[in-house]
């Protein structure tokens, strides 16, 4: 008993001392999971190798933590110094003892009565940690800093007016002294932005507007006042290269989503990847995947930073499996387009030209009667994370193979309401399916696939043990061989998996965690 008390005391006294240097060097402590995607390069790769392709079949649940909410449970846990931090919906953070799943503290705030989540559910995907503070974005568009030991509020900053449809669902990104947060609201005609806040005070340090105002570069891709409702939300966590001091963040659809008639032009910087100077928020370069998007194909998928040989030269790259069905490689220092190839069925583009611009096929725009296009509105992949395995040099992505009839309707902007101009009728059922696919990082060629019963909403994690973990709508949490894609293990969690897996270690033992249904599951050998 005394020994246990001592052990716990040690663990808790060192709790949450997570300086920037630890996160920057996250690879050196694979027992922790210190930032949304595991490292700043967004690999969602664990260097732990205790769970292997040979022994993963004996994996079993160690503890389960149940949540009370009925909404989708999308959290991606952060683990540091024996404590796991998760978000619960609609607006709560819990700290859990990583050995037992017992709750150490809980912070929550009621939802304003008039809050709406326009175009999505009341979800949250996780926290960020830095030093002794936990950061969470809220549905009513606050960025809140909590003491990592108690959950007490250190500061609370209003990021934007939720009454206009602004909302935060993504995990913040904490870098040296700063907390970066994006914003949702692409279905409500917001003007998107990315913000940096002082981690100590909550004071805003910079804001990058994803829609330029008249006179700024890019404003020529808008007309009249439509930039004011131009969309371009930033609702999924980006990545960071400390050496280049650049933040990489994907932007969402232009507003309104499906009726492009009212916003002629390319609509910069929607459906783009932007690279921003981390100190100033100034745009270093941008790349637009889907100019003048009319299918709601946000480019908010995770930008993965990796180094590989492309066009016979070793380069610093950023890779993205985009919602529009193409896998892209860009030079992450300059933004130069290097490669694009389809990783899923698509019927909207003849291909991608040498400058990275899609050659759009005729008659693929939404109409009053509906236009059948692959992929569906939710895209070939979505916010759920891919994984990059630097050992196997493979890029794993959970893929949705589904088509939709895209519909267009008239639309008029009214503040704080849906601003979409259409919708979809998805072809679901047995015609649609899902897959986990492994792509060669340099060529985008599909090396293997594992078929899933339906188009998934769960991300993937790969590990140094040669395993890829993933989840299904039907509740399967499963492990695949990282080299062959062969299924090695699966567990029925009893609820849809709409989240990303993580891995960490407790007392030298590797754990894997996933949110499923309305519970967090932790597995070990």
């Amino acid at each position: 008993m005394t020994r246990l008390v001592l052990l716990l005391t040690i663990a808790f006294s060192s709790a949450a001392q997570v300086p920037y240097g630890r996160i920057r060097n996250a690879e050196r402590e694979p027992e922790s999971w210190l930032t949304y995607s595991g490292n700043y390069a967004a690999h969602r790769f664990s260097r732990l190798n205790q769970i292997t392709a040979a022994n993963v079949a004996t994996l079993k649940p160690l503890w389960i933590y149940q949540v009370g909410n009925r909404e989708e449970f999308e959290t991606s846990p952060i683990v540091a110094d024996g404590i796991m931090y998760i978000t619960e919906t609609p607006m709560a953070v819990s700290a859990l003892d990583v050995r037992t799943g017992r709750r150490l503290w809980n912070w929550q705030r009621p939802i304003p009565r008039d809050l709406k989540t326009l175009g999505f559910g009341p979800n949250n995907r996780g926290i960020a940690i830095l030093d002794d503070t936990v950061f969470v974005g809220t549905l009513d568009s606050h960025l809140t800093a909590l003491d990592a030991r108690s959950g007490a509020v250190r500061w609370d900053t209003v990021v934007a007016d939720y009454k206009l449809g602004h909302c935060i669902t993504g995990a913040p990104l904490a870098i040296d002294g700063k907390v970066i947060t994006g914003i949702s609201g692409g279905e409500a005609g917001i003007r998107g932005f990315l913000d940096a806040y002082d981690a100590k005070t909550g004071k805003r340090l910079w804001r990058f507007w994803t829609i330029p105002e008249p006179g700024e570069p890019g404003s020529e891709t808008w007309s009249g006042d439509n930039w004011k409702t131009g969309g371009g939300p930033t609702w999924v966590t980006g990545s960071y290269d400390p050496e280049l001091n650049l933040i990489y963040w994907g932007t969402g659809n232009p507003g309104p989503d499906w009726n492009g008639d009212v916003r002629p032009g390319d609509n910069l910087y929607t459906c783009s990847l932007v690279a921003l100077n981390a100190d100033t928020g100034k745009l270093k370069w941008h790349f637009q995947f889907t100019p003048h998007d009319v299918h709601d194909w946000d480019a908010t998928e995770i930008p993965v930073l990796l180094d590989a040989t492309v066009r016979s030269r070793e380069r610093k790259l950023v890779a993205m499996a985009n919602r529009n069905a193409f896998y892209y490689l860009l030079d992450r220092a300059t933004g130069e387009f290097l490669h694009a190839s389809p990783y899923a069925k698509q019927t909207w583009a003849k291909g991608i030209d040498d400058r990275g611009r899609p050659i759009v096929l005729p008659n693929t725009e939404p109409t009053g009667q509906g236009t059948l296009v692959w992929p569906s509105l939710q895209g070939s992949t979505n916010w759920f994370s891919p994984s990059y395995n630097p050992v196997a040099k493979l890029f794993y992505v959970a893929v949705r193979e589904m088509s939709s009839y895209y519909l267009k309707t008239d639309v008029k902007y009214k503040p704080g309401t849906l601003f979409m101009g259409g919708g979809e009728r998805a072809l679901a059922g047995d015609k649609a399916f899902g897959a986990v696919r492994a792509l060669d990082v340099s060529t985008g060629k599909i090396q293997w696939e594992f078929r899933l019963q339906s188009p998934p909403w769960a991300g993937v994690l790969s590990t140094a043990g040669g395993v890829v973990f993933g989840g299904s709508n039907e509740g399967n949490f499963f492990a695949l061989d990282a080299v062959t894609g062969k299924p090695l293990w699966d567990f029925q969690t009893g609820g849809a998996i709409v989240a990303n897996p993580v891995s960490f270690a407790v007392d030298g033992k590797q754990y894997v965690a996933i949110a499923a249904g309305h519970a967090l599951f932790v597995f070990g050998l």
Binding site: R70, E71, I111, D114, L115, K116, T117, L118, G119, G121, P122, E187, L407, T409, L418, M420, G423, E424, R425, A426, A428, G429, D430, R451, L452, Q453, S472, E474, G475, N476, F478, P487, D490, Q492
Partner: protein
């Protein structure tokens, strides 16, 4: 503004347990707004036309989970436990009522005139063996779908097609599965459930079987096949009308 106040009052009365029809005061403009809200919040599951997708077909006169308009408002507000129907707490009270009004209007289209005599159809239903596979109001065998409310869920045209050419009227998600096990057993049945690793089927003797897909020698899905026999050879056109009229009238309230 006035309409909004009236709606708020209706909602307030509702929450106080008074029996008022919350949809009584809706105007054409309310219904239009309800249609817009439906497109944004409901259509992704229920389809743009409300005729169903992942979610239920709402273009029906009666709802399984909402006996009256008050219950309909409550279901839209609070969701349905254990289903994909989530609470719509992002809607304001008057918007919930407007959406309910629009949803109700979907099923209000006058049902197509169904020729035929329901009472004759009932006799046919019982004499031609339908209860050996279907339950109506608790009576019959459970191999096929329960038909107690089939008239509320399916239109007459669909039901008539189902009777004549069953394979042309298959519901999304239905599949016949043919399985060959490694030890040479062959089992054919209806899919009860399926995930990426396992499948559960119900065979023609109404027994459940559960398999891991990796253990099977072969598994074939027949998405355009059904155990329902076509009836045209056995029925005259008038009898077909009678049977269709009987099924269309099955709304669970007998």
């Amino acid at each position: 503004m006035k309409a909004r106040l009236a709606l708020a009052l209706a909602a307030a009365q509702l929450s106080m347990g008074q029996t008022a029809d919350p949809l009584a005061a809706l105007t054409a403009e309310d219904l239009n707004n309800g249609k817009r809200l439906f497109a944004g919040h409901c259509a992704s599951c229920h389809g743009m036309d409300g005729r169903g997708g992942k979610g239920a077909n709402l273009a029906v006169p009666r709802f399984r989970h909402a006996a009256d308009n008050q219950a309909l408002v409550a279901v839209i507000r609070e969701g349905i436990d254990g289903t994909g129907m989530l609470p719509t707490w992002q809607l304001e009270d008057h918007e919930v009522v407007q959406t309910a009004g629009y949803v109700r209007s979907l099923g209000r289209t006058a049902p197509a005139e169904v020729p035929g005599v329901p009472a004759n159809g009932k006799t046919l239903y019982e004499s031609r063996g339908c209860p050996s596979c279907h339950i109506v109001s608790g009576q019959g065998s459970s191999f096929g779908p329960d038909l107690t409310e089939v008239g509320a869920r399916r239109g007459a045209a669909f039901l008539r097609t189902k009777l004549v050419r069953p394979a042309d009227a298959i519901i999304d998600g239905f599949a016949m599965i043919r399985i060959l096990t490694r030890d040479g057993r062959e089992i054919r049945g209806m899919r009860a459930n399926e995930d990426s690793f396992t499948i559960q089927i119900r065979d023609s003797s109404n027994r459940f079987h559960s398999f891991r897909k990796a253990d099977l020698a072969r598994m074939d899905k027949e998405l355009d096949s059904t155990p329902m026999p076509g009836l045209p050879a056995k029925l005259t056109p008038a009898e077909l009308d009678d049977l269709t009229a009987y099924l269309t009238g099955l709304r669970g309230d007998q």
